[in-house]
Symmetry: C2
Subunit: 416 residues, 2 copies
């Protein structure tokens, strides 16, 4: 509905502005991709692939609707090797994921992504995190934090725990469900994968470590786990002034197969049950996987629906229409003059509605009121003779006469 | 690519602004709809339906990607009977139409639609046409016209020519191809429909009528064809100041089945071969067809790709990046200070990039240049000591020293 869409556009515009401040440029990718690309091993991963909308086109080729904005980006990078690196793009678009159809609706989400393609430096990860912090603040969130881990840490851990490396990705997929299904069920999933009890215990004891960022890194090092990436990200994050927003959390795994380095999830304090409002990480192998040269990359994706739900909870008053004024005719004989006045005000850049229903005055006023249009100009024969209009403030329910010549200025002075 | 996307966003923003000036509010509809809705008889029509991307979801239900933005709008109107009327919405989104796949790409188009739902008055059609004229002017087109006809005129004509009414829609679909395949082939298609030679001749002689709007309406009336809608649209169009842009053309039919009244197509003079840049019409029966109460509606759809192609031809210089400045470090030792300066400039609202590749100065400059970033700030040890930066104007290839404190102001003064 328009009121929701106006709220959503505010989110889009806020994000866009922050992204552009960091030098990210807009890009659009197609919604349809070949099934081969979407389901490629080492890409999204087998669990995600199950949720892709998949079908055959008329030529019999299998295609699917994009599941995320990262896979299509990687394909574009492969197809355009001439792009200067780093290629920093943002995209605010829909993705589709299968879920049981309710009331005839399908699962479509809006995602807002930024990615830095071509940089292996942790500077890029720190920048992505700085954008996330800036964006969440610009959206109006005061208390939030970003969970931070590194797939390299988990890989290291899995090896130290004696788990064979081919079970690393399935382990990550299982760990990704910790917050949803709890430790016990994740433990059972790991058991089903054929991982030994002792190994599972080792993993759980490590990912359950608590403490400040500094303490956690120290403990990890003591256990022989490599944390060089995390140290570097935190060092740069300090320079970006966002280190206070980062919370090292060894239990963070992320569910998609393509992550290879730092991974992150932004949480709103006290609203953890809603899940991450933004999430991402480094995926250094994806572009190579799709046939391009080895190209490191990192990025984050904002979940627009979740952000919207949280902002809606706060009941910030947002106008339900962008229309500033309705020009009403008191009688059909002055309809044409009302129309001329509306056109004149539009030339001055005002957002104006006028009657296109051939309605009586009262019904015109009801309509303007139902939409929440703040001002109505009433034009009748009497007003026309005097070259004035009656301006009704729809909130205060007061009217005043304003000269026809000055009404545009009068309205422009009153910001909505 | 970003440069194309920046050009496209200018089109979106221009259209959005004009739409909002007329009181249209944003709305988004899902990309996926049930096949039953998309293929409903009397809706898009059998020729269009062939081009819909159609597939089965996991539950075995048939769904399709939207072919236009009108059918999903009609469904939303049916589902939300509480919406105040007129419901004036705009939507800038993608639609999908099947076409032979070339180089792995699928047919996705951007459409920008406005619709007035709930008004049977020709005032609504005139307003839609006024928005079209305003929008095309705002986009920078100087010479264009809108072809105008009425499905009621064609219905009347078909009856007068002795063609059975059940052949009316197939006749419209055939006439819609006139500009693409020519009179001869359309005549053959009509013959295949079982329409008599004499009837075909009558139709062609009528739709071939030439003259001014006034002359055409006069001729039609003399032949007993009803032109009341067109007269009224033209009368209101005069009040909107757009009558000079309208060109009555009895050969205009439009291809979709749902049109019931005035139909329109905007053409750029001298660029007719590219086809209409905007097209639409009245569809008074569609909402009822989908199970709603009888609800008249009218609207127009802008073809963003065609508009973009025409604007690109003119080679209007549009910046290829939105980034205003790149903060370069002359040596890794001042990287952190460059980063601080970048963050400071961002706080002031500037769009800033900085090195995330750990590159040497020369490569940083090359990168900024390849992106078309207009200014580079160079920060070295020497500059840092003096609290200045070297500002390089990348176009003029000149440098000057600016104090660190004043550089934000210096940049803000220079509009991109």
């Amino acid at each position: 509905m328009p009121a929701e869409m106006i709220r959503r556009e505010r989110i889009f515009n806020t994000l866009r502005k922050v992204f552009e401040r960091y030098g990210f440029s807009p890009l659009e990718s197609p919604a349809l991709e070949s099934w081969e690309l979407l389901s490629k091993k080492g890409g999204l991963g087998e669990e995600a692939v199950k949720d892709i909308f998949r079908f055959k086109d008329k030529a019999g080729r299998e295609v699917g609707l994009r599941f995320d904005l990262t896979v299509p980006l990687a394909r574009i990078v492969v197809a355009n090797p001439q792009l200067p690196k780093p290629f920093k793009r943002y995209q605010i678009s829909r993705v589709w994921r299968y879920e049981e159809v309710r009331r005839g609706r399908y699962r479509e989400f809006w995602q807002a992504d930024i990615d830095v393609v071509g940089s292996a430096s942790m500077l890029a990860d720190a920048e992505v995190l700085a954008v996330a912090v800036d964006a969440l603040q610009a959206l109006g969130f005061k208390r939030f934090y970003i969970r931070l881990n590194d797939r390299k840490v988990l890989e290291n851990l899995v090896t130290l725990a004696g788990i064979p490396s081919q079970k690393f990705l399935p382990t990550c997929r299982a760990l990704d469900k910790l917050q949803k299904i709890g430790t016990k069920k994740v433990g059972e999933e790991l058991k089903v994968l054929g991982i030994k009890r002792k190994s599972i215990q080792k993993v759980f004891s490590f990912i359950g470590l608590k403490g400040t960022n500094r303490e956690l890194l120290k403990k990890a090092k003591r256990l022989g786990v490599q944390v060089a990436n995390l140290e570097e990200v935190l060092r740069y994050a300090k320079e970006y002034g966002i280190v206070e927003n980062l919370k090292v959390d060894f239990s963070l795994a992320r569910g998609l197969d393509y992550y290879t380095g730092p991974v992150y999830e932004a949480m709103i304090s006290g609203k953890e049950e809603i899940g991450a409002v933004a999430a991402g990480g480094r995926y250094d192998d994806l572009i190579k996987l799709f046939g391009g040269p080895p190209t490191p990359a990192t990025g984050i994706s904002f979940g627009v629906e979740r952000i919207d739900a949280l902002l809606a909870e706060r009941k910030i008053e947002i106008p339900s229409t962008k229309t500033k004024v309705f020009v009403a005719n008191a009688t059909p004989q002055v309809r044409v003059e009302a129309l001329h006045l509306a056109q004149h005000l539009r030339t001055d850049g005002l957002a104006v509605e006028t009657d296109v229903m051939e309605r009586k005055l009262e019904r015109q006023l009801e309509y303007a009121d139902s939409l929440g249009i703040p001002y109505v100009l009433i034009l009748g024969k009497k007003e026309l003779e005097k070259s004035v209009v009656r301006v009704r403030d729809m909130k205060k329910r007061v009217e005043e006469e304003v000269s026809m010549k000055k009404v545009s200025e009068w309205l422009q002075k009153r910001g909505q």
